[in-house]
């Protein structure tokens, strides 16, 4: 972040530690600064200029103390004028922008499902993140996940909001014709919930759920996998003991009210909507199953990446910057108002605020405060893809052998994401794989077969 700070500020260290001393780390300091900064001030042009100026100042004054003394002595504006006279900042800036290359395609169509999972890619439109990258994006609200898939396969959409397992499934040709798809970034982590109808308030133990009908948004969804995992851990076989029905997200609440389903593991805002409309209650949040699980993704076809590398890079930057803004809890109320109108989510603002800020009514008479109910960590861990593959195999969606690593690395663009994040100074993780825990059980991405074999309840071909 420090590269984007004003290098003509005498109180600033262009280095690794927090420069005001009030924060434990530079990251924390930056988070506070960024939130305080005016939105317009963080425009790409400003950030770009700052990055160039910082680089120049660091070259001129290798010792930070010298730079500070110089600026204090002559004043920031004089220093800036003096240095600008022999370093052509304007030209450098133009060069930096040129390096990004000309955009192959400026008018883009992006599909989305009206849920809070897609917050970064939706808010990027009204807040101008796409425009700042020179892109003219049309966001198309789409009626269901099958249609999201078809419109990507038919190339009606250039990029799309996906459920993160969908690009894996499409690339493998599961449930559709095979076409290589990529996950550029994860949109959100956490942010889902198991909702039960009000009449089941006394049935909080999954062992009592035999014969229940549950709604899930799509077969190839993290929702399906988490729900199956959760009930199986409680000794319920999701294929024989309960019924899973694919229901488009907006129809989940209507079906719950009508009694067609007993509950669902669905995306927000529909979990909160069920509570708000007094038809259901939140049994558990999905973060209680796997804290940090990926949910939705921002994806493109591999062909699009090949044909439009610069446009893809610009899209990447827009969505990453939007995710960065969405991660800050202080921005969440603003984001809720921005994505609420009919053009986007078409939901009441108070409802979206509960989802995004994590202070919500649970439908059982409690107010819960879970700030990380949903978060927007964009990094597409390849270990997440490996886990999805193990679950797809566990439940018989994939038959035969799977080359876990190969598929994960082809579909989840972790290396690209790291590069783009580093360009924006977003501190990406160093590895593509990480161990994590699902309901207390550790998953080792290097041992997928062993992990798979450890489950008692599963369906194998």
């Amino acid at each position: 972040m420090s590269a984007f700070k004003n290098p003509f500020d005498p109180n600033l260290t262009l280095g690794a530690t927090c420069n005001c001393g009030r924060h434990a780390s530079q990251a924390e300091h930056d988070a506070a600064e960024f939130a305080g900064d005016d939105l317009a001030d963080n425009s790409i042009e400003t950030l770009n200029r700052r990055a160039i100026e910082s680089a120049a100042m660091r070259a001129l004054f290798p010792h930070d103390e010298t730079r500070r003394r110089f600026i204090r002595a002559v004043g920031a504006s004089t220093a800036m004028a003096a240095i600008s006279s022999f370093i052509p900042f304007g030209a450098l800036e133009a060069m930096a922008q040129e390096k990004q290359g000309s955009l192959e395609k400026k008018d883009l169509k992006i599909g989305f499902i009206p849920i809070t999972c897609a917050t970064p890619l939706i808010m990027a439109d009204p807040l101008g993140f796409y425009k700042k990258q020179g892109l003219n994006v049309t966001l198309n609200k789409t009626a269901g996940w099958a249609l999201i898939r078809d419109k990507m396969l038919n190339k009606e959409h250039d990029a799309s909001h996906f459920l993160s397992p969908m690009p894996v499934a499409i690339s493998l040709g599961l449930g559709s014709a095979a076409q290589p798809m990529n996950v550029a970034t994860i949109q959100n982590i956490n942010g889902q919930a198991i909702v039960l109808a009000n009449k089941h308030k006394d049935k909080r133990d999954p062992k009592q759920w035999k014969g229940f009908k549950f709604g899930i948004p799509f077969d190839y969804s993290i929702h399906n996998m988490l729900l199956r995992y959760y009930v199986a851990e409680h000794g319920i076989d999701p294929d024989t003991d309960i019924q899973l029905r694919v229901t488009p997200p907006p129809e989940l609440v209507a079906n719950l009210r009508a009694g067609n389903i007993d509950g669902f593991l669905g995306p927000d805002p529909f979990n909160q909507r069920a509570v708000y409309d007094e038809v259901g209650f939140i049994h558990i949040l999905s973060k209680e199953i796997w804290d940090g699980h990926p949910c939705c993704a921002f994806g493109v076809s591999s062909a699009f990446v090949k044909e439009n590398p610069n446009t893809f890079a610009a899209l990447y930057r827009s969505v990453l910057l939007a995710a960065q803004m969405a991660r800050d809890p202080k921005n969440r109320p603003l984001i809720a108002t921005v994505i609420a109108p009919a053009n986007y989510l078409n939901q009441p603002v108070p409802l979206l605020e509960q989802v995004l800020t994590g202070k919500f009514a649970d439908g059982l008479g409690q107010v819960r405060n879970v700030p990380d109910r949903v978060d927007f960590d964009p990094f597409p861990w390849q270990s997440m893809a490996v886990w999805m593959l193990t679950q797809m195999k566990r439940w018989g969606y994939i038959k035969g052998d799977v080359n876990y690593q190969k598929v994960a690395e082809q579909v989840f663009l972790a290396t690209d994401a790291r590069k783009r994040m580093a360009e924006l100074d977003m501190k990406p993780p160093a590895a593509n794989y990480a161990k994590f825990k699902v309901m207390g059980k550790e998953f080792d991405p290097t041992q997928p077969e062993k992990y798979l074999a450890s489950f008692a309840i599963r369906k194998m071909a």
Binding site: K141, A143, L147, A342, P348, F360
Partner: protein
């Protein structure tokens, strides 16, 4: 029917409407909301505020209708357009699919009606294809046509094809023998026979088929647009359902009904134009 009867019928219609509205009002009127409660939980549940859910009263509907009709052509981006624009999109799709269907149905219907052999040969296909719900074609259309708006038009085409086709064939086959015999005696050329004898004779039946077709097309477009999304009155309904906003859904239902009535009225008029007295 005398003008007195018309007046009576009109009065009775108004009485029915008023009774319906009164029953609706009584059934849906909600108790006045208490002042906003202090309890945090109640606040998060939206208590004390105006929630958009619940069945609307007639006056709420009236207000929503006023709002929509005051500005029917606004355009707030690709997913939020005025009711007029949505209606225009739906009508354009129906017009496209319906025209295509008529272009196929009338010539084909003529052939089938004029040739008993062809009629019998094609009958099994028509009988199998006719009862298929047009929406069942949607996944297939999306997969093969690879374009969702063209798929929508295709669905309209396929659903308006059958009534027009069957009625044309029936109308052509049922032209009175005497007239055909007279044409034969006078050695009228086949094309002239088709256009000047059969077409006028079969026109009322053909128009009946078209009238049924346009009715079905209008029924189907709403469902198709709910499935495909994007634009149109069906998408409007879906988008408002998404928000569980029943007021707007009911308003859209009324608009759909009125539009359907207008379409039917137009074809009814056309039908009258070609009807003849033997």
């Amino acid at each position: 029917m005398t003008s007195r009867d018309t007046l009576r019928a009109g009065l009775l219609s108004i009485v029915f409407a008023l009774v319906t509205l009164a029953v609706w009002h009584v059934a849906t009127v909600q108790p006045e909301h208490a002042a906003a409660p202090d309890d945090e939980y109640a606040k998060l549940m939206g208590k004390g505020t105006k929630k958009s859910d619940g069945f609307p009263t007639p006056s709420q509907l009236g207000e929503a209708a006023k709002q929509h009709l005051a500005n029917p052509f606004y355009d707030n981006g690709p997913n939020d357009k005025g009711i007029g624009i949505q209606l225009a999109h739906s009508l354009a799709r129906v017009a496209g699919g319906f025209t295509l269907a008529i272009l196929v149905a009338i010539p084909l219907g003529f052939l089938i009606g004029m040739s008993p052999l062809l009629s019998r040969a094609l009958n099994p296909f028509i009988q199998v294809l006719k009862p298929i719900s047009p929406l069942a074609w949607m996944p297939l259309a999306l997969y093969t046509i690879k374009d969702s708006s063209v798929s929508g038009i295709f669905v309209i085409f396929i659903c308006s094809l059958w009534p027009a086709l069957i009625n044309t064939a029936y109308g052509v086959a049922a032209v009175r023998r005497d007239w055909l015999n007279v044409a034969k005696t006078l050695e009228v050329a086949p094309l002239r026979r088709a256009f000047q004898v059969i077409l006028p004779a079969a026109a009322p039946t053909i128009l009946t088929g078209m009238r049924i077709s346009i009715g079905i097309a209008w029924l189907v477009i709403v469902a198709a647009e709910m499935l495909v999304g994007g634009t149109g009155i069906g998408y409007f309904v879906w988008n408002e359902w998404n928000n569980l906003n029943l007021t707007n859904v009911i308003f859209a239902i009324l608009v759909i009904g009125v539009m359907g009535m207008i379409l039917d009225f137009i074809f009814g008029r056309l039908q009258k134009l070609v009807t003849y007295v033997e």
